[in-house]
Symmetry: C2
Subunit: 322 residues, 2 copies
């Protein structure tokens, strides 16, 4: 992923731009909280039915333990919103939205393992390996990842095979070493190193967090048959909010409590991890996140009122407290 | 998977049946060694080109370290043979054959981890985590698994989207908790337990080894557009050789040396693992494997000379020494 894209977008941005977006969202009377809460409920209901518990029960329980542990469900909601923006329906995108959350959950389970970040708590509960043991946690992650692709294929309705195939491929590359796994590896390599430049940090996060966020929005739009121009706009939107999301994550790790986050706070500094605030300070980090969200929203202007959910989600990312 | 299937097949089997198969293979002058060696070379060449090493190089190197470490390449060869039997070409099935080997390699890397089987050697070389560390080994497995699905989709040629989609789904379910992962979990649960019955042992192996072997053959045939009857015959063939393969694996763990196996031998007894020889003894285990291979080959009779590679592979499974 080319980080110059962000710079180019930001050069043309006027300082007062974000006020325009806020104004538009307010004018449209768009209630983000109701929207997010409704979508989250729909996603939770679909996830709860997505994995049937059969013999041997333990592995299905372990997968569901983490999959049904709450969370913002941001990725599935982005997938549904991408589909709707491109003229599709929530039903059409729901299996892919669930698959995206299965993959995200896999990455969290493996991330928390002692050999990786060694975290005991996630979303306010003991991590998967603390409950089921490391061996089952590894397999629960593998199971979720493997299942996600078949789930899309067997559960998606009203989408033709030629349209569905690239969705599965996009998701595959978003998780592989070309995406999430590649970002994760570089993140591990940089741990404890003081002199990480912003290019490296951007690479880590455009891959570790960004690739799956981008795939979530794009896969949704692809299911609805979006054309290349729409996909490119949504791709730039998603990359920008992906980085903004990570910057705010880094900021919250410093400013929020463990209780607010549902996971151990202050962890980055403890393991001497290079973060945006460590490069830029907290205020400048918040400012950069703000600029990225504005750049993201500029991409959505042609979609007019259809863009409201995605615009509001972008705003939410910089304003959130956990 | 229903283990009664095996019993039903075996009831109708005449004791001298396997001599007929051996006779047919000999009569046809089918040279299995040349066949396997040619196919293996083709698969190795395709695998060597399947993963491009880019930044961050470490993860790509770790994936290739295990993917290109040799081995029998039985699964990809079965995939190619299934495709050819059903009237397709080697080229058509090669991306899926590579994907099957990527998934198999993922399962070996994760299997060898300290939290799982804790193995230091695999195919005569240090295991992935001994070379790259546990964190990278976990991610190398994740990367291979995620990549396999996109690889099939972007590399397969001359197969229509409606035909390709079920191939990807089949493979997905063969790895998930419904297949390999489910068998692995039950295997871990049974470790150290003395009183494992043959039903449980069959469940473990029809899932842990059998599901991916079956998917290999079936996906090959599906790519060529095989009809339901062909797929059902190949499914029974694959399930039977899958179990036979595992029984012989258990036998070899006792009778072969570590050098012959390229991994630690005698390990099952050391960790008090329930195996077919522990239930039946070595001679009866060999006999059962022989009967399963015969039952497998009965399924292939209608395909006449086209069945020779798969018949010969089945024979090879019971006769192998490593």
């Amino acid at each position: 992923m080319n980080t110059q894209v962000f710079e180019q977008n930001l050069q043309n941005l006027q300082p007062e731009q974000h006020q325009i977006f806020e104004h538009e969202i307010a004018k449209a009377n768009f209630d983000l909280n109701s929207y997010l809460s409704e979508r989250k409920n729909q996603v939770e209901a679909a996830l709860a039915q997505s994995i049937e518990v059969v013999y041997p029960e333990k592995i299905y329980e372990a997968m569901n333990y983490s999959l049904l542990a709450g969370g913002k469900r941001l990725r599935p909601i982005l997938c549904l919103a991408g589909c709707e923006l491109a003229g599709g329906t929530v039903e059409m995108a729901m299996p892919t939205a669930c698959a995206v959350e299965m993959i995200h959950t896999m990455s969290l389970i493996h991330d928390d393992l002692p050999a990786m970040d060694n975290d005991d708590y996630r979303r306010g509960r003991p991590t998967n390996h603390k409950v089921y043991g490391e061996d089952i946690a590894i397999l629960a992650g593998d199971g979720l990842l493997a299942y996600a692709f078949g789930f899309i294929i067997s559960k998606t309705q009203d989408v033709s095979a030629p349209r569905l195939l690239p969705v599965v491929a996009k998701l595959s590359y978003a998780v592989a070493a070309t995406g999430l796994v590649g970002g994760q590896v570089l993140d591990l390599e940089c741990e404890g190193k003081q002199a990480i430049d912003v290019e490296t940090l951007n690479f880590i996060h455009t891959h570790k967090t960004g690739a799956l966020l981008e795939a979530s929005v794009l896969c949704g739009a692809m299911l609805a048959g979006a054309d290349d121009e729409v996909l490119q706009r949504l791709s730039r939107y998603a990359r920008n909010i992906g980085l903004a999301f990570q910057i705010i994550d880094d900021v919250l790790d410093i400013t929020a409590t463990s209780e607010e986050l549902g996971k151990t706070s202050g962890k980055d500094e403890q393991v001497q991890k290079a973060t945006y605030p460590s490069l830029w300070g907290i205020e400048e980090s918040k400012h950069q996140a703000r600029r990225l969200v504005d750049a993201a929203n500029i991409e959505l202007i042609p979609f007019k009122e259809k863009s409201l959910p995605l615009m509001a989600i972008a705003e939410y990312i910089t304003n959130r407290t956990h």
